[in-house]
């Protein structure tokens, strides 16, 4: 590869943008008594460093769980412990038990930001670069452009470096990406190991688990369940069990320990949704207060059913016809179904959908760019709360320009390039006049972008009426939710109509 230097330049641009964003404010800066996610991460370092493993997930006089108790899987806790050792070396005050609560200083901020950057540099960025290098059928230049766009995706940068989420998304998403990379390059064992690490870092990675499971199962079926396929299946099972056991080892000693960790990870009693999320339940809440009308367990069952039904077709299809392209699209649609319908979703969980969308950026640039813009927009209320307006606008624009120049997305709106050819052909069998699909999608894009810009402007400049203080954030969620529903339909159509053209394409490649 002669143009490796351009790849270096791209990585450096990504790093520079990340660091400049990190100079801004973070969540809960100077807001006692609870502060924000930043304090949560610092608090975890304090807890994991000072308390024995057995007490990490239990409420005690030293570990006040309502105050940012650990509620992520063990790998996160180990990572916090590692950071705590470094913190101890630099300044023991940062992680002193009890006394360090709400500790804030310029040096500490610098330290925390650096931990994010290092984790990102070690896990997420190499995965992105490698993924882009492994892409087939496109030129070196396009690979580099693709890497630039993925690295500039504003959602991840803003949440990890601006907002400072207590859990490092770049780590969990990075592991998931390594998993995707391994599984699609036929290193199934390594891939599933990486993905297990991802789940053990952040339980929300379960959004991606079904496609992984289906894809690997489909592969096994394809190889023949009586011969090689069975061997592979056993190997995979061993890898998964072994990696889980390793991660959970300190918590398997007692039954109560394991149960307590699980209870912390899946807090089902916290309600259908919190704050403002751009999913179905929160949007529907505008018209009907489901949360108050329906009993708790029915909400749980209802959300489960919806999620399950919406992702079923794509998963079955993947088992029957496992292909790495179908796998990526199924990742998108499953994660999106989970985000839209499942129980207790955070607005930041949209990043779990954005990652697989980034992966299909080179295949359907127009729709992916659009989706990624909407996903960033859906977090607007959160970003505004953290005073991150300026970096949000700037990085979003940078991302948009990068996508427009490297993929010339506006020229790629034909049915073929939207991968809707076979769909519209089969619709035309019944409706011959169905030729306006790509035109409609262009108009929808324009409308969507204009709404987003207008809503952003209104949120920033206008004061909401006194009766409806949350008017704008509800509107933002509602609009994003509508967009996401549209995307769910779109991605499912692509997946379901893929077979005919997909097989031909595979032969070519």
């Amino acid at each position: 590869m002669e143009k490796w230097y351009l790849m270096t330049v791209v990585v450096l641009i990504g790093l520079t943008v990340r660091w400049t964003v990190s100079l801004n404010s973070y969540s809960g800066a100077g807001k006692p008594p609870m502060f924000g996610d930043y304090e949560a991460q610092r608090h975890w370092q304090e807890i994991t460093f000072n308390l024995p493993v057995k007490q990490w997930y239990f409420n005690s006089s030293d570990n006040n769980l309502p105050y940012w108790g650990l509620d992520y899987p063990p790998l996160t806790a180990y990572h916090s412990l590692l950071c705590a050792y470094v913190a101890k070396f630099i300044n023991p005050d940062w992680i002193a038990l009890h006394t360090s609560r709400g500790y804030e200083s310029q040096a500490h901020k610098l330290f925390m930001r650096t931990t994010v950057l290092i984790a990102d540099l070690l896990i997420y960025i190499p995965a992105v670069v490698l993924y882009c290098c492994c892409l087939k059928e496109i030129s070196t230049k396009k690979k580099i452009a693709n890497a630039l766009c993925i690295l500039l995706y504003p959602g991840l940068i803003l949440i990890d470096y601006g907002h400072f989420q207590n859990i490092y998304n770049s780590v969990s998403l990075g592991f998931a990406l390594w998993g995707v990379l391994g599984v699609s390059c036929d290193c199934d064992l390594l891939g599933s190991l990486a993905f297990c690490l991802a789940i053990n870092y952040k339980q929300m990675e379960l959004y991606h688990a079904l496609p992984f499971f289906c894809f690997l199962l489909g592969k096994c079926f394809k190889k023949g369940l009586k011969g090689k396929g069975f061997v592979l299946l056993v190997k995979l099972a061993c890898i998964v069990v072994a990696s889980f056991v390793l991660c959970w080892l300190p918590f398997f000693t007692e039954r109560e320990q394991t149960l307590q960790v699980l209870r912390r990870l899946f807090p089902v009693d916290r309600g259908l949704f919190e704050d403002k999320v751009a999913n179905i339940w929160c949007s529907f809440n505008v018209f009907l207060k489901i949360k108050d009308i329906l009993p708790h367990h029915i909400q749980l069952i209802m959300s489960f059913c919806f999620t399950f039904l919406s992702l079923l077709p794509a998963c079955i299809k993947l088992i029957l016809q496992p292909s790495s392209k179908g796998f990526k699209f199924t990742l998108v649609s499953c994660a999106l179904s989970f985000f839209l319908f499942s129980f207790q979703v955070h607005e930041k969980s949209i990043l779990l959908v954005s990652l697989p969308v980034c992966l299909v950026l080179s295949e359907i640039p127009f729709m992916s760019t659009w989706f990624l813009l909407v996903s960033t927009f859906s977090m607007l209320p959160l970003l505004l709360k953290d005073e991150l307006l300026m970096p949000s606008v700037v990085t979003t624009m940078a991302f948009f320009i990068a996508c427009v120049t490297s993929f010339s997305i506006f020229e790629k709106t034909s049915e073929e390039e939207l991968q809707l050819k076979s769909f519209s052909i089969s619709v035309r069998k019944y409706l011959p006049c169905f030729t306006f699909l790509s035109r409609i999608i262009q108009y929808l894009f324009l409308i969507s972008v204009i709404t987003m810009v207008l809503l952003t402007l209104m949120t920033v400049t206008l004061d909401p009426p006194q009766k409806l203080p949350d008017l704008f954030s509800v509107l933002v969620c509602f609009v994003s939710c509508l967009n996401f529903l549209f995307f769910l339909v779109y991605f499912n159509i692509i997946i379901m109509w893929d077979s005919k053209s997909g097989r031909n394409q595979k032969k070519i490649s």
């Binding site: 330049v9 230049k141 300026m390």
Partner: protein, 557 residues
Amino acid sequence: MAAFTIATGTGNWFSALALGVTLLKCLLIPTYHSTDFEVHRNWLAITHSLPISQWYYEATSEWTLDYPPFFAWFEYILSHVAKYFDQEMLNVHNLNYSSSRTLLFQRFSVIFMDVLFVYAVRECCKCIDGKKVGKELTEKPKFILSVLLLWNFGLLIVDHIHFQYNGFLFGLMLLSIARLFQRQGLPILSRLVLNSWGQAILPRRLTKVLGLQKRHMEGAFLFAVLLHFKHIYLYVAPAYGVYLLRSYCFTANKPDGSIRWKSFSFVRVISLGLVVFLVSALSLGPFLALNQLPQVFSRLFPFKRGLCHAYWAPNFWALYNALDKVLSVIGLKLKFLDPNNIPKASMTSGLVQQFQHTVLPSVTPLATLICTLIAILPSIFCLWFKPQGPRGFLRCLTLCALSSFMFGWHVHEKAILLAILPMSLLSVGKAGDASIFLILTTTGHYSLFPLLFTAPELPIKILLMLLFTIYSISSLKTLFRKEKPLFNWMETFYLLGLGPLEVCCEFVFPFTSWKVKYPFIPLLLTSVYCAVGITYAWFKLYVSVLIDSAIGKTKKQ
């Protein structure tokens, strides 16, 4: 949608580059800013709230107005926008005032003024005809040049982190250079003169005359304006003067390239003089009328400062000082010197403005002036006796800037940009120039590192420096891949040495016991190490210019 496509420009790489760097500048808004931020705020306040007669007398703040009048007028205009942001920043007595609105206004004013720089880069790209190698966009000289100029590391950190208004000033300079290149600017001008219905507004002969001549005048005019914005550009004024006199006022050469005295055009000299005079009159006239010229000049040229800045700019005098230091240490060891005779200040050199030499003779302003003139003269002679078109002018201009940087009195490290930016234009043309450019740029940019000394900015400066350096070296190597390698082993070794130097200065030294005892060592090392590289680049450029003109002569004969 179609209109949108055109506006955002698919394949319009230039606007993508310019927009990209503008967005990066916006991201740099919350970074550290130096006292220059307060300097410019104070000037806003002075020009806004005081009458002209007070501008150059006001001294409430220690940061008095010491730029020429056009810059003061520029601040005056800015202040009338500033009042809509925050009225308080326009109060002269509000020292060190920096509300968030003030910050936003000042930062955005720099970013906004850079539009001029972007335009100038675009014009420069139009008139540069570099080597044409591959068809790939990223290998085109125009693309490389626009990245080298737009994403210039020095400008980014000096303007958008440290805070200064160099961008639009360099924009003016590049624009004037571009105008001198665009002698055959007829198509552009005739497009302007022909109105949109294709009718000629002016008689054809007149447009032709104008088209051929106007560009030189425009270049001269722009440079004169620039001089009255910031007088540091006086460094390169000799190149402008000689070039215009030689190539514009003499309309023809003898066949062997030497001067044809009869072709001297009085009209052109007078028109040039008139342009310069009118610009100066506009700028200095009001102060002449107020009888304040001596005061203005005393503010513009403060010779009371020391030979070197607190941090030695990496030039000849840095080497001279370092040599003096080494000699005095050796002298003390070998008992040639009496410890009681050594001045105290020299023990903490680098922290005190006035540096007293112990062994070598002290340097006076006059000596530096003479050295500078001697250093500039050969390049001027080359330009006069062997004018090689705009390219020769550009080399002479770079040499002037570099020579003044090497030998000037109280030179700032930022002044290296004055050589780096014009040199970028040369670098995409010839492999030899590219090699010199890379050494000069890399060391020159590295020598700007001490400008940013706060921890949060450390990753930014390292990342941006790596970004620019890796890009410039790799892209120029690709451009000239068919010729001999750009660096020999010694140059490679020297450039690679910058890495360990940075590690030592910023990561190792603070943890050693010397930090308290000899706090000046990192600065000293940086400045001496960079001085070697810059001196080498200066020397190499000089040699190549002199050899080129000698070869040119023998060829003609």
